[in-house]
């Protein structure tokens, strides 16, 4: 993994890793705007003060992003949060992914819709595993759960996605 140590070009670094970090941030926030806010807060702090720290820089950033997201959620109006949770998952229709190469946009939309219906705890594990390419050990460490729990949630998430997407494929 590309290290930020000694790299002065923050644009290059965030350009390479920012989209995946934003996707993860989006799992812990209620809107894309909130996700951008927490990514900005965490990245600025990281780039100014933490990028020389040992260890995986993306794991460090994700810890920071998650903490900022939790702080933001606490600051937000609790009633509003309850209402939005009752609506379930990702309430926005802003796309999370680019168009699949060589295919129409329909399949991407189906997948995004199905992702949005997953329980939060399954979706965050799925996103960290698929797009952040974390191991179950890393996911467990980040989310304070055991690697086995992370693996179970991942499997449940894939199974639930398959159940939602199959009728669309074959029906």
């Amino acid at each position: 993994m590309e290290r930020p140590h000694g790299n002065e070009n923050w644009k290059e670094w965030i350009g390479a890793h920012g989209p995946r970090l934003l996707l993860c941030a989006r799992q812990w926030t209620r809107s894309l705007a909130d996700a951008e806010d927490v990514l900005q807060e965490a990245f600025v702090r990281f780039w100014r003060h933490q990028r020389e720290l040992p260890g995986d820089p993306q794991a460090l950033l994700l810890v920071s992003i998650r903490r900022a997201a939790l702080d933001l959620a606490r600051r937000n109006d609790r009633r509003q949060a309850r209402e939005q949770r009752a609506e379930g998952g990702l309430e926005e229709t802003v796309t999370l992914f680019g168009r699949l190469p060589g295919e129409g946009d329909e399949r991407r939309q189906e997948i995004e819709t199905a992702l949005g219906r997953l329980p939060d705890e399954q979706r965050e594990v799925l996103v960290l595993k698929i797009w952040q390419e974390f191991t179950f050990e890393q996911i467990g460490e980040l989310l304070a759960i055991s690697p086995n729990t992370a693996a179970s949630r991942y499997r449940y998430a894939l199974t639930a996605l398959r159940a939602q997407l199959e009728p669309l494929c074959h029906g």
């Binding site: 002065e8 070009n9 965030i14 934003l22 992914f97 699949l100 991407r108 797009w131 996605l161 997407l165």
Partner: protein
């Protein structure tokens, strides 16, 4: 994992997260400043050398501070050990337990360099004012407890550079 889940996993992996928005990039640029790009300053011929001189100075200062910190932290502890040398000679002496913080790393990161524009030098000749912004970071570690302490200090340097009239 069965085959259909594997296929689904592969399909998900083909999806690429959307790029960052222009507004987020602008906000980050406001916070972190433009990326230092030496080429932008190439016309001011002396600036590159000033930049590297600055780095060298910052590095030398950091190393010097590191050495000073090491010598300060070791000198009080070395005296008592010497004074109990006869006792230690009678029994096998284990490696001395070092229960104090020791500097292990010092770094100076230049994260912003801004040309503030034309300025008049003290000798009344034209020049340019250039602002360098650093974060100096010092890491201390206690080898016994493995605890570490990190100290980051922002530092601004404003330099007046003679303008090149070439």
């Amino acid at each position: 994992m069965d085959e259909s889940l594997q296929e689904l996993e592969n399909e998900l992996k083909r999806l690429r997260p959307r790029a960052l928005s222009g507004s987020l990039a602008s906000r980050l640029e406001r916070e972190l400043g433009p990326v230092p790009a030496p080429r932008r300053y190439t016309p001011a011929t002396s600036l590159r050398s000033w930049k590297w001189a600055g780095w060298s100075l910052a590095g030398a200062a950091a190393v010097a501070m590191g050495f000073l910190a090491v010598s300060f932290s070791r000198s009080p502890a070395s005296a008592p050990i010497d004074s109990v040398a006869p006792i230690a000679a009678e029994t096998p002496r284990p490696a001395p337990a070092v229960n104090r913080y020791e500097p292990v790393r010092a770094s100076s990161v230049l994260y912003d360099m801004k040309d503030d524009g034309v300025a008049t030098l003290p000798d009344q000749t034209p020049g340019r004012q250039v602002r360098y912004r650093y974060v100096d970071t010092y890491t201390w570690k206690n080898p016994t407890t493995k605890a570490s302490l990190k100290w980051s200090v922002p530092r601004d340097e404003v330099r007046l550079v003679k303008a090149s009239l070439d």
